[in-house]
Amino acid sequence: MTEPQNFWRRFLARPNDDRGKAIGIAVIVAFVCAVVVSTTSVLLKPRQDAHLEAERAARMAAMLDTLPGMRDLMQEVGVTALETRMVNLSTGRFTDDVDPAGYDATEAAADPETSIEIPSDADIAGIRRRETYAPVHLLERDGELMLLVLPMRATGYQSTIHVMLALEPDLRTVAALSITDHGETPGIGSRITDPAFIDRWPGKQVADDTGAIVIEVVRGTASGPYEVDAISGATRSSNAIGSMLSFWLGDLGYGPFLDRLEQEGL
């Protein structure tokens, strides 16, 4: 019983410039700190995840609220939230291989196993890698698509901008656009979240009659259904959203999925 105590006492009694003591103290401090940090992290993880999940749900709910008649439609169908399904972006088909709960697209995009590299000339959204699987949110009534919400991201002026794009059943008309996350300059680029900018999107057409993606953010006077005005003073943040849509609705993004939906339905 007294043996370890003696050892401990002898260890502490050693001079502070002793090499053994220096290593010993370093190991003990590192170990105790590691235990404290990992215990807190493990204990608090469920709470933090609940917050993240709630935040995602709140953003989605806020966007649905901006769509006229959407709540009534959902009530009619008998759901309170959109259904989330995973899509294989390369094949354009739904998949059950991945569980949408807890799926982190950014993490998946960083892993070579679950993502592809985008050729630099095609990388207009500036994201370098694109994940293979993406979660899409949809509302269906009697096997018919009523609303499709696609998560997207692009590099803006100084951060990655995350967006939810809601499309009407024709898959061409923007129902709503919602910025879910960004770190643009406060007061300048951050104005992309202002209603003044967000409200410019609903009703715009992302593709023309041939199906080519033609939506564009322009400076000054936007005219017609394919053009959206940039925010003056925040052109690069605004343009990033234009390129984001062009990229994500194109062949390397949701293009194959949207084509398939158009031809085969859900």
Binding site: N16, D17, A22, T40, L44, G187
Partner: protein
């Protein structure tokens, strides 16, 4: 020196921000609104008190050759714990503070107090010294935060105090106040005000300019 002195001295007389000009980076970043400034103040004060107490507790057994790394390890662990707690219990605020809670590790104030005070003093005075310096930092943050939020957005703690032009009132928010440079100006003015009231804080200039000789 009485124990209360450890707490009161850093408020104005030895204020870490205005006298020692420490912790400026976070003071610029988190003072756009009062709620973020308050959360940051509490987080930093908690880290300062806890790390000062722990470091003081084991000060006799920290080998001199590795003392900085031991201090940083302890401080960094405290910061991670505080960050995790904020994320679990004050999620909204922690999103707005983003990386700045994590950057408390690199706040010179925390390591400065550990190195200058906690390494040489018993636990209680060290903890009180940490508390005092934390409160001194908090005081400046709250003043800067109040000025920036009021003039920058017309609100205090997110509640509208005056009606802005955008909402049909008369108050035109000062966009500059939402940007980092305004914090520099405000802290500069505070330093000036405090040093005018307490001239003993004015530093002696290290070099004196001499008149050039033989030149007319």
């Amino acid at each position: 020196m009485s124990l209360t002195h450890h707490v009161t001295a850093p408020l104005i007389d030895k204020n870490p921000v205005t006298l020692q000009i420490l912790g400026i980076c976070s003071a610029l970043a988190v003072t756009t609104s009062l709620s973020t400034a308050l959360t940051m103040s509490i987080a930093l004060t908690a880290v300062l008190v806890a790390s000062a107490a722990v470091i003081s507790l084991i000060r006799h057994h920290i080998p001199n050759s590795i003392r900085l790394i031991v201090q940083i390890t302890i401080i960094a662990s405290m910061v991670i714990v505080v960050d995790e707690l904020l994320r679990a219990f004050a999620f909204g605020i922690s999103q707005r503070l983003s990386i700045f809670v994590g950057l408390i590790v690199t706040n010179c104030l925390v390591l400065g107090r550990a190195e200058a005070f906690a390494m040489r003093n018993p636990v209680l005075p060290s903890a009180l010294d940490g508390l005092g310096n934390g409160l001194g930092y908090s005081l400046i943050l709250m003043i800067v935060g109040t000025i920036r939020e009021f003039f920058g957005a017309g609100t205090l703690f997110g509640h509208a105090v005056v009606t802005t032009v955008a909402d049909g009132g008369w108050f035109q928010p000062l966009g500059l106040m939402q940007l980092a440079p305004s914090a520099f100006f405000i802290i500069g003015l505070l330093v000036w005000a405090i040093r005018s009231a307490r001239p003993e804080q004015i530093e002696v200039s290290e070099y004196k300019l001499q008149q050039r000789e033989g030149h007319r």
